[in-house]
């Protein structure tokens, strides 16, 4: 584990300046707890507390999830530390009018990946240098060229299976689901005040952790995130049962790119395929 002291110092300086500006109520960044295997979300509200902020190679979390939380929003204007992947989620929140651009200050951090070994999403990241932030701390980093084959390799592994093998694989994986909904709660784009799973009149999706209910839940999750998911991988990281949810997310992203030439979250003013109509749209299904 290594702390990037140059970036951390710049970050603390920027945070201190922002908090001294009366308009910024809270900086959402990362902090360290000695024994923890990763750097946790940290909320800094006073300039004298900025030394709690760090940036290292264990900043796994996507802090954009906090932008839709009432307890945070009530504080006032928010400064938020974003890696490139996190920024994509912020862009979707802006696009969907969950947050207003004037209510947040984006503190971008160039990032070469989190963890050792790097997770797949980091090794194929095309957003190492976040674009369009208010402040960038740290120097730009090299951005390797990534092709579609690399990006969607997990989805390809599953596509290579026969229909029967795929069902065997997914029914095995989804049988493990204990319906804790960590995947939903950690997702920056699952901000519904009332999730479909919590709607009981009628109960659209069975809440029991049997295969039928688990498949229904995971399919509903995928449907609601297709064309929106930015592939940050938080759902898979949060899943206590190690279900490979990123493979589903990859497939969604792959189809959106192939059929609509669309990647979610690259900008905040993009037109999302599901909320726009074009005569050129493919008439194939999405799954």
């Amino acid at each position: 584990m290594s702390t990037n002291s140059t970036v951390t110092e710049s970050l603390q300086r920027a945070a201190s300046e922002l908090l001294s500006d009366v308009n910024i109520a809270v900086i959402i960044g990362y902090g360290r707890n000695g024994e923890s295997p990763f750097s946790h979300p940290e909320f800094v509200r006073k300039p004298e507390d900025v030394e709690r902020l760090v940036f290292d190679d264990r900043c796994f979390g996507n802090l954009a999830v906090y932008l839709s939380k009432d307890a945070i929003r009530r504080m006032g204007k928010i400064g938020i530390v974003v890696k490139g992947c996190d920024l994509r989620a912020v862009n979707v929140l802006l696009r969907e009018h969950v947050v207003k651009r004037e209510d947040i200050v984006l503190i971008g951090v160039p990032c070469t990946g989190q963890g050792d070994p790097l997770p797949h999403k980091c090794s194929v990241c095309e957003q190492r240098n976040p674009q369009g932030c208010d402040i960038v701390v740290g120097d730009p980093v090299e951005q390797p060229q990534i092709n579609a084959e690399q990006k969607y390799s997990d989805a390809a592994d599953i596509d290579a299976k026969s229909i029967e093998e795929r069902w065997e694989f997914w029914s095995g994986q989804l049988s493990k689901c204990i319906r804790c909904y960590a995947c939903r709660n950690v997702c920056p784009l699952c901000y519904c005040k009332r999730c479909i799973i919590d709607k009981t009149i009628p109960q659209w999706i069975e809440t029991s952790a049997h295969l039928r209910g688990n498949v229904a839940w995971n399919v509903a999750r995928a449907f609601h995130l297709t064309g929106r998911c930015v592939g940050c991988g938080e759902c898979e990281r949060a899943c206590p049962m190690d279900i490979p949810l990123s493979a589903i997310n990859q497939k969604m992203a792959q189809l959106m790119e192939e059929w609509f030439d669309f990647q979610s979250g690259l900008s905040s003013d993009e037109k999302a395929p599901f909320t726009t109509f074009s005569m050129d749209d493919s008439d194939t299904g999405i799954l």
Binding site: N33, E35, S36, F38, S39, H40, P41, E42, F43, G61, V65, Y66, K69, D70, A71, I72, I178, R179, C180, Y181, A182, R184, N185, V186, D198, Q203, E206, T207, S208, A209, H210, G213, E234, R237, A238, P240, M241, D242
Partner: protein, 357 residues
Amino acid sequence: MRSTEVDEQTLYQATAGWLKSAVDTLKGAGVEVIAPVEVDPGVIELAVIDSSESVVLDYTNVRLPLKRFFFPITEVMMEFEKQTDGDVLMKSEPLASPKSEVVVLGARPCGVAALEALDKVFHWDYDDVRYSARRERTTLISFACTKPDPQCFCTAVGGSPHGTEQSDVLVFLKDDGQALMQVCSDKGAKFIEQLKDVVKPAPAGTKPPAPPEVKAMFDPEKIKTWLDENFENDFWTDVSLKCLGCGACSYLCPTCHCFDIVDEANWISGQRRRNWDCCSHPMFTKHASGHNPRADQASRCRQRIMHKFKYFPERFEQIACVGCGRCVRACCVGQNLVSILTDIEAKANGGNNSDAE
């Protein structure tokens, strides 16, 4: 839960290869055997086994807690079906017992100790027949903990890596395949009797090994004194800020026992099921009126701590936590129960909290 004093009369010596003999003997007698196996790379889970070959002995703890074999993630309570004459036929699901006996071979002492809390809840104002039947038919053979990890804190909540609470037999595995066994109950004595070819009384003077060190990081009694006075405190808002209410901590907790009852049906027939639930979710307390007495994450985080370290001890004279550390390991935002409790203890000791008095 402590096992500092061991009666030599209860110690037995098992020869190398005892595990295979045990599994074969039990299976031969029609007993269902549950043991730790590797289900995902590096992930150990308790599961029904066919032979001793798949049993894993070198692990810290299993992913899902032992409680699921007594209080399943989902279970059918009743089935109903509409008849052609318009009546509805209802039938209770046959109870778990007396299908077959079950032996859990290789639970950890903390997971087994957690059943004491569940026993109290499920036998409290109502005897939960499903839970009781499963509990009754099951013999619990614990494997003494040899490598607690930094997230373990059993000693802080009255436990021990060699705790015998609720265990029928505590097994001390040896590297050479032999084992020392401590009988803790009549069920345990029956288990030993079944294995008499490979398990003999230990020679006089035999002592169980010393338990590995697990540092006690806080004092629950001090914590309770602070909780008693601080239902309303800004501390709850502060600790809840990063909590996403994801529920992983509760679902993996060996003592959490809240459930939801749902009906699942088509036009003709259906089932009433009992499913694990979680106090971190807003829906858990939402009333039919729309009012929610725990409307924010701060009140839900407070409930989780209060229930384990104040309400449960007041009602059942026991902490609803065995220090297994699953909640700490599972939390995706690094919420750490031990950190929260040590902060509370500091406040109770007159630390940096002005509201504590």
